[in-house]
């Protein structure tokens, strides 16, 4: 390739070109394909109908996450059918059955509900060390962008593309533009990666990243541990970008080292040497650059029905009449009506019914720790229901080894098994019409957590503090515990 300075995304792209012809999309090789039960059945059907096989089953892995309940599953071997099955919805069961049948027939490794390796698709890849710097990774799920946190080019695809990757291990793609999000300064104490990404989306807008791959850069990003980087990259899609990534560094290598699928011995050294070459070159040009000052941030929460409708917790519900852009103003009016909020209400006065800690945004061990730290020695407010749902069975096990489950249950929260749970209204964990939640997930769309449900996106620490008071609250607002 040319010696002109290139960005991280361009280097990965170039290294995966199977062919590139003028007037055609590039054909990219895909290093890892993650699969779940919702977006894959029609793709496997397509393969069957055309008499095709999965080209590289060893570059493919599947898990059950969206449809599985998070109660009644304590370990492997839970029956899917018959008495004792925790999956009571027959349609959900059919979808999980279809994945099991397809995985068997096509020779794809599958983590079934209750297995030690099972969990949300975007949580299990990094935990196994399957997602490594410089790789191309796809999944029939928009939050595949999460995996860019380790320096991989990872993006969500639709079911037709899932079938394409299964059949060919490649994907035709037009080369996207690049966008730098420079995060200067350091995050103040009590401000987390979730607050940062909500602030970025509020600034960039839900369509601002459209057609771009975002690279998060700068001091504040470098000082984040990998789990927090995963939170940031997770919500790239909420800014309209298909992928978001962070250059691999010592923090990344330290995270990967010793994980089951990470290279070992001489191969490790070889890999690290390559990974170090991936960082964006001095002088490389991004199509767009946005700068965010981390040192000015405070905890963020959403007030509306898209993730860009977010404000610092200290502010009030905005007045649509004061928004000059007519589309944005109309969308704010609609959002307030749906959310049942009145302009001018301080966000701290908004009372919630439910608190959800979990999802591929904030369902990792560090997220649960952050929530537990706030809850230790405190109690969930009367009348508030709090669900804590680990992102994977491994996270659950690690959390239990540290006694976090006790902290949650003693505070009055429910401790669950792994899955997408209340992030989307598909399994038994849902909001009822009109019910309001503080949720650590990534989407506050109308009905996302259940028909008529009202969602405020928050960090795990804010979620836990909110559970204590019953109103949107930051940990710093709580009365300190007597020592």
């Amino acid at each position: 390739m040319s010696s002109a300075p290139r960005t991280l995304a361009e280097k990965i792209w170039d290294a995966h070109l199977v062919r590139s012809e003028a007037g055609e999309p590039d054909l990219l090789y895909i290093d890892l394909h993650l699969v779940h039960e919702v977006t894959s059945p029609q793709a496997f059907d397509g393969l069957r109908a055309a008499g095709r096989k999965v080209r590289r089953p060893e570059l493919t892995i599947a898990t059950e996450d969206h449809n599985v309940p998070t109660t009644g599953i304590t370990g492997p071997g839970v029956p899917l059918t018959g008495p004792g099955s925790p999956v009571t919805d027959p349609v959900s069961r059919t979808q999980v059955e279809a994945l099991r049948k397809n995985a068997d027939e096509f020779g794809v490794r599958l983590h079934r509900m209750g297995d030690a390796g099972q969990g949300i698709v975007h949580v299990i890849g990094p935990q196994m060390g399957l997602t490594q710097p410089g790789m191309t990774i796809v999944c029939g799920d928009s939050h595949t962008s999460t995996l860019g946190a380790v320096g991989a080019l990872a993006f969500g695809i639709g079911t037709s593309e899932v079938e394409h990757v299964l059949a060919t291990q490649t994907l035709p793609q037009a080369r996207p533009k690049t966008m730098a999000v420079e995060v200067t300064g350091a995050l103040p104490a009590g401000v987390t990666a979730k607050d940062l990404i909500l602030a970025i989306i509020a600034q960039v807008g839900t369509g601002g990243g459209q057609g771009h791959i975002i690279e998060y850069r700068g001091e504040a990003i470098r000082s984040l541990p990998v789990e927090s980087r995963l939170t940031v990259c997770n919500m790239s899609i909420e800014a309209g970008a298909r992928a978001g990534l962070i250059a691999p560094d010592e923090v990344t290598f330290e995270y990967l080292k010793g994980r089951p699928h990470a290279p070992r011995g001489a191969e490790w050294d070889q890999a690290v040497e390559y990974w170090k070459s991936l960082a964006t070159d001095e002088g490389a040009v991004f199509d767009k650059t946005v700068t965010v000052d981390a040192s000015k941030l405070t905890p963020y929460v959403t007030w509306g029905t898209n993730p860009g409708q977010a404000l610092p917790l200290g502010e009030s519900v905005p007045d649509p009449a004061s928004i000059t852009d007519p589309d944005k103003s109309a969308s704010a009016s609609r959002a307030l009506e749906y959310m049942g909020l009145t302009a001018g209400t301080p966000l701290r006065d908004v009372a919630v019914d439910t608190v959800f800690v979990g999802s591929c945004t904030n369902g990792r061990l560090s997220d649960l720790k952050a929530a537990a730290e706030v809850l230790r020695g405190r109690a969930v407010a009367p009348g508030v229901r709090m669900l804590v749902v680990p992102g994977s069975m491994q996270v659950r096990e690690q959390a239990e080894a540290e006694g976090l489950d006790k902290v949650f249950t003693e505070a009055g929260a429910q401790w669950r098994s792994a899955g997408c749970s209340m992030c989307l209204g598909m399994n038994p964990d849902t909001l009822s019409p009109g019910e309001r939640s503080a949720s650590t997930s990534n989407r506050n769309f109308e009905g996302r957590q259940g028909k008529g449900g009202r969602t405020h996106l928050v960090s795990p620490a804010v979620a836990a503090a909110t559970a204590v008071t019953g109103k949107l609250t930051a940990p710093a607002d709580l009365t300190p515990l007597a020592r």
Partner: protein, 194 residues
């Protein structure tokens, strides 16, 4: 996939921005394992409102949706496209689309047409006035009865694929030699799942 060359039909104005795929089809409708029948879940929550535009009988049989900016953002669910197609739509016109939605649309035979906001607003008015629309992919043009004509951009390759109704996998498999050669050169330390 059915080839798309030109399509004439009536249009529905959806005067909303940021219509995400959770609105187009809520998660609870995603449980089917076939590609059919998703029309039932199209805009499910909004269809409970008698005033919702798709519930107005004057728009029955419309095949073109004229939507606001950032249509199809959010989840990658191709079911959103299947639901629109199953309901009878062949074209969606909007000022901007979610990236994955737009790709999914072109893979499943729904034509996404991106036009400037002001043009889309005029088209929404035309739809309300029951004007007939023609979307000509060959000429890359939308023609609205009454004289409004707008050219849209679509890359040559996608246009050709849609006009021929071609299956992407078949096209890629013609490059089997290049794929196999690429696979030979992959570093040994890359992870495998099995």
């Amino acid at each position: 996939m059915e080839p798309f060359i030109t399509h004439t039909g009536r249009a529905v104005p959806l005067r909303r921005t940021n219509v995400d795929t959770d609105q187009i089809i809520p998660a609870v409708y995603l449980k089917r394992v076939s590609r059919e029948g998703f029309g039932e879940g199209l805009f499910a929550a909004w269809r409970e409102d008698p005033k919702f535009v798709l519930n107005q009988s004057r728009y029955d049989g419309a095949t073109i949706l004229v939507a606001g900016t950032d249509f199809g953002i959010g989840s990658s669910r191709e079911h959103a496209v299947w639901a629109l197609v199953d309901y009878g739509f062949r074209v969606v016109i909007a000022p901007r689309f979610g990236d994955i939605f737009r790709t999914n649309a072109t893979k499943a035979g729904l034509l996404p047409v991106q036009l400037p906001e002001a043009t889309v607003a005029r088209m929404q008015d035309a739809a309300e006035a029951d004007r007939s629309f023609t979307i000509d992919l060959k000429a890359r043009e939308v023609r609205v009865e009454g004289g409004l004509i707008a050219s849209f951009e679509i890359d040559d390759y996608t246009r050709w694929r849609l006009m021929e109704g071609l299956d992407d996998i078949g096209l890629t498999l013609r490059h089997e030699t290049a794929i196999a050669a690429f696979e030979q050169a992959r570093p040994a330390w890359l992870p495998a799942t099995l």
